[in-house]
């Protein structure tokens, strides 16, 4: 106790920074050194994915690894995409059969449900909300078998229905996110409109919705991402190659290339396709960085 009390004036961070200038410089250098090593190791795998996409086999198998292939085989992107599997069809599947419908449904339905969980006060609301949150604890494995059996009897397997239809009934995670956001909108706005005789749907549409743009963008982004990246869902329900989304297509390429011994350009092609699939997401991130960061922060607010 006495020791800390004695040290008190020295450790004041303003004086400390000025007092021992060298210690300050060393910690600064150390800090940036750690940050640079850290971000380099986070960045390297994706960088290596890209450079390996423009290598030939000899370059890929060279030890120590080549980081800047010369010559570079840009042709790989075209060849991998067009000469192995029908990746154009898979893109159409991913975008129009999966990501787009699921995103639209999620945004619309979750907004309505979140409104009911936040902007109307009704008896039992909290209990239903806890149940809704509780379902997030349920592992997918528990519902997997019965749902598979139901979809099979409905002849929905080998179609996108099992992947898309549930989104029309709301996704708890996004309901939670939108509800949190709606809670921050002052209640007076709704009350004023109610006095003017507006219906609840009218209030949602005319007052709440215009204020929701950031939150809805977040939900749309994450839902799209979820469908774009989903591997397990399509794996369970789709087993016809012409129905595959991109995620399954990449692995199909790997299986085809390695099942009969290594074919030519196995890794360059795999990396080329992986790069093309990851690229839209990276671009999306660069253009919507703020939205991403704000959105993911929003999800972590609740303690």
């Amino acid at each position: 106790m006495t020791a800390t009390a004695k040290a008190a004036p020295e450790t004041n961070f303003i004086t400390a920074a000025r007092k021992t200038k060298t210690t300050h410089v060393i910690t600064e250098i150390l800090k940036y050194a750690i940050l640079i090593v850290l971000s380099a190791s986070f960045f390297f795998p994706l960088f290596y994915m890209f450079v390996s996409a423009i290598k030939n086999d000899a370059q890929v198998y060279t030890v120590p690894p080549i980081l800047f292939p010369n010559p570079a085989f840009w042709q790989n992107f075209y060849d991998a995409w067009t000469k192995t599997f029908n990746f154009n069809q898979m893109t159409i599947n991913s975008v129009f059969r999966y990501c787009l419908p699921v995103t639209l449904a999620t945004v619309i339905v979750c907004t309505v449900v979140a409104y009911g969980f936040s902007r109307i006060k009704w008896i039992g609301r909290d209990i239903f909300f806890y149940i809704c949150m509780g379902t997030m604890m349920m592992p997918w494995q528990v519902t997997m078998v019965p749902l598979f059996i139901v979809y099979r009897t409905l002849h929905w397997t080998n179609s996108y229905l099992p992947l898309v239809v549930p989104s029309f009934f709301g996704v708890p995670y996004f309901i939670f996110l939108l509800r949190q956001f709606m809670m921050t909108i002052p209640e007076e706005l709704s009350d004023a409109a109610r006095i003017d005789g507006a219906s609840e749907l009218g209030i949602l549409y005319r007052i709440i919705l215009p204020l929701m743009t950031p939150a809805l963008t977040v939900v749309a982004l994450f839902r799209w991402l979820g469908a774009w990246n989903d591997y397990l869902g399509p794996l369970i329900y789709l087993n016809r190659a012409d129905l595959y989304p991109l995620a399954l297509g990449v692995n199909q390429l790997r299986v085809a290339q390695t099942s009969t011994g290594n074919q030519a350009n196995t890794f360059p092609y795999l990396m080329a396709v992986s790069t093309i699939i990851a690229l839209p997401i990276l671009l999306l991130f660069f253009f919507a960085q703020r939205t991403f960061i704000e959105g993911i922060s929003l999800t972590g607010i609740k303690g």
């Binding site: 004041n12 940050l35 290596y48 890929v60 039992g124 494995q141 591997y231 995620a247 972590g300």
Partner: protein, 306 residues
């Protein structure tokens, strides 16, 4: 009883009744979804767990047969439980701790914070398939870049994915590589911590470490708890990365619970056994979550608000 219930419900004012109906109407899509996609499958999977069912012949009731089979006869079960426990126990705390330290580092005064943050965040949104493919290439024993670099500095190559003892640690490491989402959440909560608390602590003579322990950790503990719970729930169910990277191998050393369950259902067509496995997992997850919540009273600090 009926009388009191009657008076109570008629005791609802007109506005309360209207609000109740409105509220139910607005949440009705989710409510229907809950009944169809959660409650029905939950109950019916419990029923299937008591049957033998191969999708071809009708389910046959066999009591607790699937459970006794799982515990006593399934040759892989205990190995899978061990693998999953290993993965969950190392992966979650490691990822959370790493994310928290990185977030603290990013929260100091640095130039280019958003660039560093972006680089660390990106791996968490790249499709799992791409992650798997690139790590397959990076960790390959013969020509992987990581081993290539080790060999360049005259170290022995490490069989990251092809040795029984390293397959799980490698999966843990790759999961930690994608901890960027948690970093961003932590960073946001760090920025919410009031500056005056740090100033007060500094006045009292606390050094950087003491400020971290006495201010940062307690103020962020609710968010840490939240992420621990989400992390545990998710890693118990981890499927895609191990499925693609090791397919559970070598010698089932990285066969996680969900891989085993998937194989039981769709490769061995034992829907009953798979349902039993799923229910056991569900119970474990619920117990885990409850324990975490219960323990939270001891280490989570909820500010004045609630």
């Amino acid at each position: 009883m009926a009388a009191t219930a009657g008076t109570r419900s008629s005791g609802l004012s007109r506005v309360e009744k209207r609000n109740l109906l409105m509220g139910l109407a607005f949440i009705s899509p989710w409510l229907i979804g809950f009944l169809v996609f959660n409650l029905y499958p939950l109950i019916s999977s419990f029923y299937y767990s008591l049957t033998r069912y191969d999708l071809i012949q009708a389910p046959v009731y066999i009591g607790l047969g699937n459970y006794t089979f799982t515990f006593t006869q399934d040759p892989n079960f205990w190995n899978v439980v061990y693998n999953t426990a290993f993965y969950v126990i190392f992966s979650v705390p490691l990822s959370i701790a790493a994310a928290f330290l990185i977030a603290n580092l990013l929260n100091t005064r640095i130039i280019g914070r958003s660039i560093f943050r972006g680089i660390i965040y990106i791996p968490s949104i790249v499709p799992a398939v791409c992650t798997a493919m690139v790590w397959l290439l990076l960790l390959n024993i013969q020509y992987g870049a990581v081993n290539g670099m080790l060999q360049a500095i005259h170290l022995k190559a490490i069989p990251f994915l092809s040795s029984m003892s390293l397959s799980k640690p490698s999966l843990v490491m790759i999961a930690a590589w994608a901890c960027g989402g948690t970093v961003v959440i932590f960073l946001a909560s760090l920025q919410d911590v009031s500056r005056t608390l740090y100033e007060a602590a500094t006045m009292d003579g606390a050094n950087a470490w003491q400020r971290f322990v006495a201010v940062t950790l307690p103020m962020c503990s609710p968010v840490i708890l939240f992420n621990l719970i989400i992390g545990f729930i998710n890693s118990f169910q981890e499927f895609t990365l191990p499925w693609l990277l090791t397919a559970g191998g070598p010698a089932a050393s990285s066969e996680l619970y969900s891989l085993h369950l998937y194989r039981t259902a769709f490769q061995n067509l034992r829907m009953g056994t798979a349902s039993a496995l799923a229910w056991l997992l569900f119970v474990v997850i619920v117990i885990f979550t409850v324990i975490l919540f219960r323990s939270s009273g001891r280490w989570v600090y909820y500010g004045g608000e609630r």
